[in-house]
């Protein structure tokens, strides 16, 4: 198992390296550079060339690539042209905000998805099963940005329960005490996190239901029933643990999807996270920042997959032996 994890970790490093290379190539193949997007007629071509030289953008591409790799290898990610600060600083402000949003959405969607899947499988074929199934198909087929807009419309404008945008109240936040601030932030988190949760919970529920039904046909379930174990105990103690295995795989998949969804959700709810940062960085051709954002994305995805591997071992003792 340890060897396996080590190999997976090595693979993850290779993938992150490939992602960095891919985005480097993509950015430099595209027309324009960070200084052509400054549509300022007062800046002459000479000045522009000097800037390009100052940031090394006039060098041949292979040299730029090697230099960039060297910077990354030293644990730095370069200097952002558009934000005028080191990329690491920009990430340090944006990444925690996204992680809070994603952690909330991830925890809620797995809890809700697994619960719904269990309930559906338990009452298979009933009206409840069909109802939940139809509802999750509905959410599963929904564009994330549209759901975000509709949530905003329903719960911030029509029923003004939740705040429209932002991470905290711009005026009151400074006056609250510690717990007040926490409550304020949690209150602002509800709508964006719920949007992301509804979409992925629908997906997980469909998956979980199938997995539970699959396990319910196994021999040990029949044995447990024959012993007289109650249906609820069978589900929780015997079935759930086995049915969790395929769902854990979803963790690796849910992360890129949540990250993608976060782009829209962060834009609509003005949540200053990675999605927000990335879209802005692409628009300003901020090479180091875009590449760094892609790397962070790839690292998150790789981390999700590794976490799934570890969780496999926790849930399934058969895997620990090998």
């Amino acid at each position: 198992m340890r060897h396996y994890l080590a190999r997976r970790a090595l693979q993850a490093v290779v993938i992150v390296f490939l992602v960095a290379t891919l985005s480097f190539l993509l950015l430099h193949l595209a027309p324009g550079d960070p200084f052509t997007t400054l549509q300022n007629p007062n800046i002459t071509e000479t000045v522009r060339q000097r800037w390009r030289a100052a940031y090394g953008l006039d060098r041949p591409l292979p040299e730029q690539y090697l230099r960039y790799l060297g910077t990354v290898a030293r644990g730095q990610l370069g200097y952002s042209y558009s934000l005028h600060e080191p990329v690491l600083n920009a990430l340090a402000t944006a990444l925690p905000n996204t992680l809070v949003l994603m952690a909330a959405a991830l925890a809620a969607s797995f809890a809700l998805g697994i619960l719904l899947g269990l309930v559906q499988a338990r009452h298979r074929g009933s009206a409840l099963d069909h109802g939940i199934g139809t509802l999750s198909l509905f959410f599963y087929s929904m564009p994330d940005f549209w759901l975000a807009i509709m949530m905003l419309l329903a719960f911030a404008y029509w029923l003004p329960i939740f705040p429209v945008t932002g991470m905290f109240d711009p005026v009151m936040h400074a006056m609250y005490g510690f717990w007040g601030r926490m409550a304020d932030r949690a209150w602002h988190l509800v709508l964006p996190a719920t949007t992301l949760t509804l979409l992925s919970a629908a997906f997980i529920a469909r998956y979980q239901r199938a997995a539970v039904l699959d396990v319910l046909q196994d021999d040990f379930v029949r044995t447990a029933r024959a012993k007289g174990v109650g249906e609820r105990a069978i589900l929780v103690r015997h079935v759930l643990r086995n049915a969790l295995l395929p769902v854990i795989t979803l963790l690796g998949l849910a992360l890129p999807a949540l990250l993608g969804g976060a782009v829209f959700v962060e834009k609509i709810f003005a949540w200053p996270g990675m999605g927000y940062l990335t879209v802005r960085a692409i628009a300003t051709r901020d090479y180091p920042l875009v590449t760094a954002a892609m790397i962070v994305g790839a690292v998150l995805v790789a981390a999700g997959n590794l976490l799934a591997d570890v969780l496999y071992a926790v849930v399934d003792p058969r895997l620990r032996a090998t």
Binding site: G32, M142, W146, R206, Y207, R209, A254, P256, V279
Partner: protein, 312 residues
């Protein structure tokens, strides 16, 4: 959540079990597998309803000039008719430029449905070719090709799309279709590769090789026909995904460009004034949900029909 078409088999099972239609005994006379598949599919009431819906949507898209009550770009009266809520004259209301929203949604169907269909064709073709080559030649070629796929799949597709489209800026429709198609084949190639790995060991392929058939001949005649059905399922389920992606990109303003209407950029029109002109964003979004649900149901039905083992 839509980007995972290659993980769908259990989902199909979920959908299959939602159907409580008594099934006919399998028709023994149906000799060809395709016939059998189609006959099973035609028994699936949910999938057939969804199929009818899709045919209706495409018909509306084709007949848009005759069905739409107004021109989608006409601005009849920017003062008196702007931002009208839904009424009998304008069933879906009008937007802030006084354009009739129903007409725009109908014309938007043309763009959104065409883009999705063509993009998925590109994805399926490229993905099949790539996966078939990797799986057929195996070994180091396969290892290298699949590591690239792993890397490509580690970037969220929407970020990749935003990067390409924002960097190249305001691409015309054919290029948008191409970009959507070329970012969507990674999953397909994985499915195809896995299938090819098993098919290439089968007797017919070994026999063909012993008879001296060339690699392209074997791939085309013996391998491809046997890997096609999962590709068709993945493509059907993928269309919904592409519709959502195109809408998202158009919503950001980097997909289909105005004044051409697509469901995504109509939602964009409404999103800045969502509190007052809510109907602009509501109706195209409902159109998207309806279409994607229908495509997902057909895909699930196809999956069941092709692989009766997943039925419960």
């Amino acid at each position: 959540m839509h980007a995972v078409v290659w993980l769908v088999p259990p989902l199909a099972a979920v959908m299959a079990s939602r159907m409580v239609i008594p099934r006919r005994a399998p028709d023994v006379r149906a000799a060809s597998p395709w016939r059998a598949t189609l006959s099973r599919l035609s028994d699936d009431r949910v999938a057939m309803t969804a199929l009818a819906l899709i045919i209706a949507l495409y018909t509306v898209a084709v007949l848009a000039p005759w069905l739409a009550p107004y021109s989608p770009a006409a601005q009849p009266d920017i003062i008196a008719l702007k931002g009208q809520p839904p009424s009998l004259h304008h069933l879906f209301g009008t937007d802030q430029y006084s354009r009739d929203l129903l007409s725009r949604v109908v014309y938007g169907a043309r763009v959104s449905l065409t883009v999705a269909l063509l993009a998925i064709l590109v994805s399926a073709t490229v993905g099949t070719a790539y996966g078939a080559i990797a799986g057929y030649y195996g070994g180091r070629v396969d290892g290298f090709m699949m590591r690239l796929i792993d890397a490509a799949l580690a970037i969220p597709r929407i970020l990749l799309l935003i990067a390409v489209l924002a960097l190249w800026g305001g691409l015309p429709l054919p290029y948008l279709i191409l970009v959507l198609g070329l970012t969507g084949w990674f999953g397909v190639s994985r499915i195809v590769r896995a299938q090819v790995l098993s098919v290439k060991e089968r007797d017919m392929v070994v026999a063909a090789r012993a008879l001296g058939a060339s690699d392209p001949h074997i791939l085309w005649r013996h391998v491809l026909p046997n890997v096609l059905s999962p590709v068709i399922v993945a493509a059907t389920l993928g269309i919904g995904n592409v519709i959502v992606l195109e809408a998202g990109l158009s919503y950001l303003g980097i997909g289909v460009q105005q004044p051409l209407a697509s469901w995504g950029n109509i939602i964009r029109d409404g999103s800045s004034q969502i509190a007052t002109l809510w109907w602009i964003s509501l109706f195209p979004g409902l159109a998207i949900v309806l279409t994607v649900i229908a495509f997902n149901l057909i895909g699930d039905g196809l999956r069941d029909a092709l692989d009766p083992r997943t039925k419960r």
